[in-house]
């Protein structure tokens, strides 16, 4: 259909819509995807309705390849298990994760750093503001082949930092305990290394990681300049590799988000 190729214009979509659609485009067809509560659920569902119809979604509570007809509000929601292939538990899905079966993971976080290390435990370190703690965030970032972090950024430059104040989940460079020496993730994980952060998607741009595991701006969302992205970042963000604007949501994707996936307006209010 012609309309499927139609990209919306600025003003026709909200920042949240772009965030969800940019995230959805990270999924390749047939991939095994581990997703968390909230936007990640929307993203995998958009992907399954578009370019990745045979992608499989796993939730850490244990449900595998559910086909929800109503948007779940937590990974243990009964809606996740509707028409699922398997609904068992944590030992099953975390075992598969560690065995390298997970291609892509979608996660959120409170703070991310240059190397893709994520913090969702303490803002400001153990003496600072307490958050939820890891949940599955750490396991999934540790062991998935690629992980995608979805985070707000505009006006919150303290969320994009040189070094997170507490490493909940590993990026491309991490300390090697007990020496504390910072080394590449592969060196710490050895034969268990499966991959690492592939992208950070914010309400301003899409970021990826270079050969040294350092974050750079890949595409900037319409309405922002690459410099805006750098200014909303506490570290010296590399914007030299920015290849242009992030594709806007298509009309089909917007329709999916508001009419098919979240018609109740739970997240897409």
């Amino acid at each position: 259909m012609e309309s499927q190729k139609g990209y919306s214009k600025p003003g026709e979509f909200k920042p949240l819509d772009l965030l969800a659609c940019a995230a959805a485009r990270e999924v390749r067809d047939g991939e095994i995807v581990f997703a968390g509560t909230g936007l990640p659920m929307l993203a995998i569902m958009v992907a399954q309705h578009t370019q990745a119809p045979t992608a499989v979604c796993i939730y850490e509570s244990g449900s595998i390849d559910g086909r929800p007809i109503d948007l779940p509000t937590s990974v243990a929601d009964a809606r996740c298990s509707y028409q699922a292939s398997v609904a068992d538990g944590l030992t099953d899905v975390f075992g598969q994760l560690q065995a390298g079966k997970v291609d892509l993971a979608y996660l959120g976080g409170a703070e991310v750093d240059r190397y893709g290390n994520v913090n969702c435990t303490f803002m400001g370190g153990p003496a600072g503001k307490r958050l939820t703690g890891s949940g599955g965030n750490s396991d999934i970032h540790s062991l998935a082949k690629r992980s995608v972090l979805i985070m707000p950024q505009l006006g919150q430059k303290r969320r994009f930092v040189e070094r997170v104040s507490y490493i909940t989940s590993p990026g491309w460079k991490i300390p090697h305990w007990p020496s504390k020496e910072w080394v590449p993730k592969q060196q710490v994980y050895g034969p268990a290394f499966n991959g690492g952060p592939a992208a950070v998607i914010s309400d301003m741009g899409v970021y990826r990681f270079d050969e040294n595991g350092e974050m750079y701006l890949d595409t900037v969302h319409p309405g922002f300049a690459p410099e805006d992205c750098r200014e909303n970042c506490s570290f010296d963000l590399n914007i030299s590799r920015c290849k242009g604007e992030t594709l806007t949501p298509t009309y089909v994707e917007l329709d999916l988000l508001y009419k098919v996936i979240d018609p109740e307006g739970i997240i897409m209010k």
């Binding site: 509560t37 909230g38 850490e60 509570s61 244990g62 449900s63 109503d70 509000t73 937590s74 990974v75 243990a76 929601d77 009964a78 809606r79 298990s81 509707y82 609904a87 068992d88 538990g89 944590l90 030992t91 975390f94 560690q98 435990t121 153990p126 600072g128 503001k129 307490r130 958050l131 939820t132 703690g133 890891s134 949940g135 599955g136 750490s138 396991d139 540790s142 062991l143 507490y166 490493i167 909940t168 989940s169 590993p170 991490i174 300390p175 090697h176 305990w177 007990p178 993730k185 710490v188 994980y189 050895g190 034969p191 268990a192 979240d262 018609p263 109740e264 307006g265 739970i266 209010k269």
Partner: protein, 324 residues
């Protein structure tokens, strides 16, 4: 082995002593034994040591009420109904509680090892992360790894150069809680337990625990459950006490029976922004009612009815959830 005893909730919770190590069945805001949480608070248990695959509303409530001395888990929050466990956050920030942070697999390993009689299980999860930073071994820093507490081992974890592929791997020590309390849909008269829907990590946490309290929506004829033994989770000899208590998971959800009461949890979260707020909330909903029956009465039939699951879907098809 003695067959499990069917007792009142009050009686079951009376068995738990100050200082005991506890864990719970369920996952975040699903299938939590909330009636038991209220009763633990009402009975003013103190210095409990929680070891949880993940926490949720129940953990934060126990912490707010001053029942918890040590919290060990991977997470505490209320899913979309509240950003984090405010009581726990406040007590951690003020240094009023001891805690150990773990990743999900770590705590799962602790309890799985305990369930199998093993001293440890290995994993690669969270290497290079701050829960494994030696500086964050909080129980060690508090001098509690001296062998005086049987639930606190010598090492938070051990890095091991394993001899098969020469990889570095983390060995996570076993945990064997004194008690696990689990809410389930059905239990047979002789204690066979059936859980409908996701089992989360129930099998592991229950088997790891020295004593088990099973709170069931319904006690059913044992023979009924035994017609399909592949659908059952536990034999009766692993159960110490059975309590029959419909709605005992409210305000968390119960697959196929009822939704989480999001509004209730959300109000709880708002109240817990201060200790005074929590105290007032507890006065109204825990100390202000005689028992769980009075609590249900206070909630009222219409509120509960609105949470009921549609049997074809396993969740409510009528509850308003979003902005549209």
């Amino acid at each position: 082995m003695a067959r499990p005893k069917k007792v009142s909730l009050t009686k079951a919770i009376e068995q738990i002593k100050d200082g005991d190590m506890l864990t719970f069945g369920g996952f975040t805001v699903w299938r939590r034994p909330m009636a038991a949480i209220y009763e633990l608070i009402r009975q003013k248990k103190r210095n409990l040591h929680l070891v949880e695959v993940n926490g949720g509303t129940h953990d934060d409530m126990l912490v707010g009420a001053g029942c918890v001395g040590i919290w060990e888990s991977s997470w505490c929050g209320h899913e979309l109904y509240g950003k984090f466990g405010s009581n726990l956050a406040r007590k951690i920030e003020k240094g009023e509680i001891l805690y150990e942070d773990w990743a999900h697999i770590h705590v799962l390993n602790r309890l799985t090892a305990g369930s199998k009689g093993l001293p440890f299980l290995p994993t690669y999860a969270a290497m290079g992360c701050d829960m494994l930073n030696p500086e964050n071994d909080n129980l060690g820093k508090a001098g509690l790894r001296d062998g005086s507490n049987p639930h606190i081992g010598k090492h938070k974890y051990v890095m091991y150069q394993e001899p098969f592929t020469d990889s570095e791997i983390i060995l996570i020590p076993a945990a064997n809680p004194d008690w696990c309390i689990t809410h389930v849909q059905m239990v047979g008269e002789e204690g066979t337990v059936r859980v409908e829907g996701l089992k989360f990590s129930d099998l592991e946490v229950i088997k790891a625990s020295k004593h088990n309290i099973i709170i069931a929506e319904q006690v059913v004829p044992e023979e009924y459950l035994r017609r399909e033994p592949t659908r059952n989770m536990l034999p009766g000899y692993l159960v110490d006490y059975i309590v029959e208590l419909p709605w005992g998971a409210h305000p968390t959800g119960l697959f196929g029976v009822h939704e989480p009461d999001g509004e209730f949890i959300s109000n709880f979260f708002k109240a817990t922004r201060t200790q005074e707020g929590f105290d007032q909330w507890a006065e109204e909903w825990i100390f202000g009612v005689k028992d769980f029956q009075e609590y249900l009465n206070k909630l009222g039939i219409n509120r509960l009815e609105s949470l009921k699951a549609n049997p074809a879907l396993g969740y409510s098809s009528t509850m308003k959830r979003g902005s549209r």
